[in-house]
Symmetry: C2
């Protein structure tokens, strides 16, 4: 194999597919990037058997062939080359030379046919959203997946297609995050549970451009994201996702409108007094026009008042401050609305059209403390 | 005590003195910042017994007094306050309230008289350099102090005043870094060994402005840096520093002029093939007009050629690539000159006036490898 392409194209391509290279594995072929120039295009692929990414890069094929190269070293070498054309050439013994201007690297490759290609997916159906939307939706929900594997389904996100709407849901037992977006075409209803890791990696690759589209297709076992020159294939998580609709209620006894930044900054300051792992709640006292926030720990105490617009009853309620911070951080609105029932019922932060809903369970606290 | 000052003044002051707060200590008073408002100025002090820093901040003293507060929490709280006036008030039981707009923190302080004040230094003599110069000189030498305590003197830097020149020297057994600057006044010859930690912390505080001066005074046990509203006092290291002059030679058989950036980038690329802890040398082959650099490891091999301007003999010599990189990174010149004798003798990188000298010992290598 002998190919020529620019350093910048190569860096971009390797950086995209490297997201599917496992950080730990016993199979050294999985640590490789496959450079496939057996046809008329130069295609890079990485595949950890759960998540696979391929991307096509521009360049010239002088001699067809393919080679698998250690992803980490290949990526580091390419990144440090001068900004010029890069020639990659392999010989029969899989020795690979990488030449750029006067620099010449020589490393061993592995045979390309040992590499696991991406599975070929029979696409049942597909939807289309902008790169911007997909990236935003992931950012606004991914924080509330569970990080432990004790319940596998909680480590993924529900992608639910219903009535030409896409609803993305994550939950971890203490809170639920929901984002809803309208689809532009008629599609059959469908529920998929996408691994959180896939979504985290894909959101790093997405350009975030509003004009650029992502085609999302799926079978019962796989989901495929196609955008720019890149294809991301991921297994789905098996099993039935949690029934969340029965947890969502539109009843409330207290409704609070509040400046988001003021609330966020205040809770952020309060967490200074809480050491990692310490479960001190922030106590919120909702009165007429004023919300008082209090926290008390071994380190000290803090209280602060914020002006609010309230409808309904007064309420004293406690929360894990981190959960409030996580939700408030990803909301772009200047003002947010909180819906509450009582000190034992969940708090809902949502907009009027319910394009986002954040459900947060309260925590018990000692009112005298 | 009751004082009022702006958030930004407080943040700046706390950030300066926090450099002298030890990260680990069994004496909890050392983890504190002392706020001293017993006179007409508000003075912050931290002191780990080796290094002490005090800085005066602008503000209003409403009630005189002093208090010692945990530096970490105080600094975090102050940083997250709204950008407004901050009122700090203590009561008889050392409870300290920090109020800023509607936010109110309450933490316990410690009595100020438990705090170790900075030692009062009888200044024998002093020199003056600009903040820019001191910061640069530290940056250009600090990388070659030894990080282990096996030889205490190697963890510091020699400040040698001689013939109205200040020479700053560091060495670690494999290399020596020297920077020389002219002083603007007549001063007595003197040798001081300043702890590396002191220099690292002080260079973080220095503004780096060329117009702003640092006054450096010293006794046989202490060195004092005074600049802006800040005083840094450090113990000196005891003992006689290494005799370096006999290691410096102006003889050479090979002299090479080379573009610094090309050389640095080439060595930087070569180190990709060297894993942490692996001691593979970079082998440099100096010929007429061309210098060839080669490295070979288990991962692969690399070679590259750079155009040079050579006087004297050809030479094949090996170096630890890290040592070359460290020196080249801190040199600001576009071209550098290397002076070499043979494959066993040190290489000198220096400018014509010897304002900087970097001595690097070569390493043995297998020429056949």
């Amino acid at each position: 194999m002998k190919i020529v392409c620019t350093k910048s194209n190569l860096v971009k391509g390797v950086s995209i597919v490297s997201k599917a290279v496992p950080s730990k594995t016993t199979m050294s072929i999985l640590e490789c990037v496959l450079i496939d120039a057996t046809t008329d295009i130069i295609r890079l692929t990485a595949n950890d058997m759960e998540l696979g990414i391929q991307t096509d890069i521009e360049g010239e094929i002088i001699e067809r062939g393919m080679i698998a190269i250690d992803a980490k070293f290949f990526s580091e070498i390419v990144r440090k080359l001068p900004d010029s054309d890069v020639i990659i050439e392999t010989d029969e013994s899989l020795q690979t030379t990488i030449v750029c201007e006067k620099a010449k690297f020589n490393i061993s490759g592995k045979p390309g046919d040992e590499f696991s290609y991406l599975p070929i997916i029979e696409k049942d159906e597909s939807i289309e959203v902008s790169q911007f939307t997909l990236k935003e939706v992931i950012r606004q929900t991914i924080f509330s997946i569970a990080d432990s594997d004790s319940n596998k389904l909680m480590t993924g996100e529900l992608f639910e297609i219903k009535n030409n709407m896409l609803r993305v849901v994550s939950l971890d037992g203490h809170r639920i995050s929901i984002r809803k977006i309208a689809l532009n075409a008629d599609v059959t209803d469908k529920k998929l549970v996408v691994p959180g890791k896939t979504l985290i990696e894909i959101s790093k690759i997405l350009s975030g451009e509003a004009e650029s589209k992502v085609n999302i297709s799926y079978t019962s076992n796989h989901i495929v994201f196609e955008f720019d020159n890149t294809v991301v294939v991921s297994r789905l998580l098996e099993g039935e996702y949690f029934k969340i609709d029965q947890m969502l209620s539109s009843d409330y006894d207290t409704k609070v409108r509040i400046n988001k930044k003021e609330l966020l900054n205040c809770i952020d300051r309060a967490t200074l007094l809480v050491k990692e792992g310490d479960k001190k709640p922030i106590i919120i006292n909702i009165g007429d026009e004023i919300m008082e926030l209090k926290i008390k720990s071994q380190i000290g105490s803090m209280n602060e008042e914020i002006m609010i617009n309230k409808e309904g009853k007064d309420l004293l309620i406690g929360f894990n401050p981190k959960f409030l911070i996580d939700a408030l951080r990803v909301i772009d609105d200047e003002e947010v609305t909180l819906y509450l029932m009582n000190a034992k019922a969940p708090c809902f932060i949502k907009d009027d059209n319910e394009t986002y809903i954040y459900l947060i369970l309260p925590v018990n606290f000692n009112a005298a403390g």
